[in-house]
């Protein structure tokens, strides 16, 4: 397990380096000087930036400066907001995104496993057909449509009841989080439901389930002790990529629900071509996602003894 974990962490570090380098190269592939494109940059900031990023120096030198800044965890200064540090932006807005994301992942994972198990139990009967129809819809409808529909539903709900049942937009209390987290998790939930269903059905056909029946165990016991745990394994493996999907999906949800998260900030930066913020948040998000994938891998190792105990 220790070797397994160490290996994951090592490959994670290399991946983060690759992400950082790719970010650097992509930003330097921008035709012309990024600083020249935006006339709004004041002379003072420009000089500041030039000194900081060594834009007058050759590419290799710039790369060294960039990497060493990243290693120090220094993402630079925003282009569009005078002298605001990217680090401060991340520190201020990321927790909001993280809470929203975690809530969405929890909703998606629990929901997906629950619905998936349910559909497998009621295979080819009404609950299964209904849920699977919704799942197909969930997979086929883009996230922003969920976000918009969710908001629309809240508007109508509040109008119907007459008071604010759940706030339509904004951030602050748990009630603000509920609908955004739900719509953010829906796509992933649909995907996980489908996966869980397939996995449950696969496990049902396994020899050891037949053995469990032959041992005279009750259906409940077989379901809980033998089927569920083995069926969850493949679902856990896709959790890593799905966290990435939820993180980027957060951009849209934060934008629609006016949530002051890093995602909304990132979209804003993208629209304003705020290069330092884009670079900083990309590297930050990249590192965050790599970390999440490592965590999921370790979690998988804990659940599956074959991974945990093999050297």
């Amino acid at each position: 397990m220790i070797r397994y974990t160490a290996k994951r962490i090592l490959s994670g570090i290399v991946t983060i380096w690759f992400i950082t380098t790719a970010t650097f190269l992509a930003m330097h592939a921008v035709p012309g000087d990024p600083l020249m494109n935006d006339k709004a940059v004041s002379e003072e900031i420009r000089r500041n930036l030039e000194a900081r990023y060594g834009l007058d120096k050759p590419l290799s030198k710039q790369y060294v400066i960039f990497i060493s800044n990243m290693l120090k965890g220094d993402f630079g200064i925003s282009f569009t907001q005078q002298n605001r540090r990217v680090n401060d932006i991340i520190r201020e807005h990321f927790p909001v995104s993280a809470i929203l994301g975690i809530l969405a992942v929890v909703i998606a994972a629990l929901g997906g496993m629950l619905w998936g198990a349910l559909t497998a139990l009621y295979r080819n009967r009404l609950p299964d057909i209904t849920i699977m129809f919704l799942v197909i819809l969930g997979i086929s409808v883009p996230g922003f449509v969920f976000a918009a529909t969710g908001q629309l539903a809240l508007v109508h709900l509040n109008a119907m009841v007459g008071t604010t049942v759940l706030p339509v937009a904004g951030w602050g209390t748990f009630t603000h989080m509920l609908m955004p987290a739900l719509v953010l998790g829906l796509g992933t939930m649909a995907l996980l439901t489908r996966l869980m269903r397939t996995s449950m059905i696969d496990v049902m056909g396994e020899d050891y389930i037949r053995t469990a029946h032959a041992k005279g165990l009750s259906a409940q016991r077989i379901f809980l002790r033998h089927q569920l745990r083995n069926a969850i394994l493949p679902v856990v493996t896709v959790l890593g990529p799905q966290i990435a999907a939820i993180t980027t999906g957060g951009f849209v949800v934060e934008y629609v629900f006016a949530i002051p998260g890093l995602g909304r900030y990132f979209v804003q930066a993208v629209q304003q071509l705020d290069y330092t913020v884009i670079m900083g948040t990309t590297v930050f998000y990249g590192a965050f996602l790599v970390l999440m994938v490592i965590l999921v891998d370790i979690l998988y190792g804990l659940i599956d003894p074959r991974v945990r105990l093999s050297t």
Binding site: Y208, A214, R225, D304, P305, R306
Partner: protein
């Protein structure tokens, strides 16, 4: 003879598939006596596994179902009452592939103990202790340490021992072994068979052994039932079935098997393949492959008929009919 511990009569099982209904088991009857071993032999797909799985209630329903017949065991009919109260307690079962037949994410000890916790209301601790001693009884070295391990840390032979320990936890009256040695190396096979025999001697259980390996049958069985195309075509004691084959299929099997006594004999394969069970033949199932087939074989199904009044030897073949020609009749004992 004494009353059998398990008496199966006219059992029939079908499956719904995309292509239609498959009559996997058609009219199977046999008796199993206390302390004895009954071997059911036959080629792949002849319905031998389905027969025992239907007794254990392991046929997935749908698509499978038992359409007729009865199976009397301990004053109840397993077909009508179901096997839920019996399996694991009075009937244990082991399977062909021990590698896939144990839960990969559960410790071996827990899997053996589980039966005791469920059926005998042992506490976790008692059950664990019992599991360790069961593993010891099946000759697993260092049982205490092994009980804490997972199936992927076991070899195939060791897993089959663990399977046996698990099946025997509640000291069942019948052990059903569905091709228990097919997936194992030859040396391991012998060890497992030996283990089964010694355990049978210890607690006097009956064994139903499913196999297609005639050598295993010769070694283990008291009674043999030969299955073909969903039916038992011949049954009797090992000696009867091996030395006095009364059905052309059994005869074919013997001729396809190497023998110590006639080392120079050329092995003769049985031509053709078993009939399509989507539409079972109207006559005898073996008719199309039988070198001795007669006109009647194609149109009328033969019934089980005793070969020798004194023994349990029976066969399902028109060649035993009084009107059948006696010259060149391979199954008539005297001619």
């Amino acid at each position: 003879m004494t009353t059998p511990i398990l008496a199966v009569r006219n059992l029939a099982v079908e499956f719904d598939t995309f292509g239609g209904v498959v009559n996997a088991v058609r009219d199977v009857s046999f008796d199993l006596h206390a302390g004895q071993t009954l071997a059911i032999v036959g080629e792949s797909g002849c319905g031998k596994s389905v027969t025992v799985q239907s007794l254990m209630g392991l046929i997935p329903t749908p698509p499978g179902r038992i359409t007729k017949g009865s199976a009397r065991f301990m004053d109840q009919d397993l077909v009508t009452t179901g096997a839920q109260g019996v399996r694991g307690v009075h009937m244990g079962m082991i399977f062909q592939d021990p590698m896939t037949s144990l839960n990969p994410t559960m410790r071996i000890g827990d899997q053996v103990a589980e039966t005791l916790v469920v059926h005998k209301q042992y506490t976790r601790k008692q059950a664990q202790e019992a599991a360790v001693s069961l593993l010891a009884r099946t000759h697993i070295p260092e049982p205490r340490r092994r009980a804490q391990q997972y199936p992927f840390e076991f070899s195939g032979g060791m897993l089959q021992r663990a399977m046996i320990a698990q099946a025997l936890a509640c000291e069942p009256a019948i052990l059903i072994a569905d091709e228990p040695t097919t997936a194992l190396d030859v040396t391991i096979q012998a060890q497992i068979l030996e283990l089964m025999q010694s355990l049978q001697k210890e607690n006097g259980m009956s064994i139903i052994l499913i196999t297609h390996d005639l050598a295993v049958v010769a070694r283990m069985a008291d009674q043999v039932a030969v299955m073909y195309a969903g039916e038992i075509v011949e049954t009797g004691s090992v000696t009867d079935v091996f030395y006095h084959p009364a059905h052309p299929y059994n005869l074919g099997l013997q001729q396809a098997m190497p023998s110590n006594r006639h080392p120079d004999r050329v092995l003769e394969p049985i031509p053709g393949s078993p009939p399509d069970l989507f539409s079972p033949p109207t006559g005898c199932g073996y008719c199309a492959r039988c070198p001795h087939a007669m006109t009647i074989c194609d149109s009328h199904p033969p019934e089980m008929s005793p070969i020798d009044i004194a023994s349990t030897h029976e066969a399902r073949c028109w060649l035993h009919h009084e009107l059948a020609p006696s010259e060149n009749n391979p199954v008539r004992p005297s001619s």
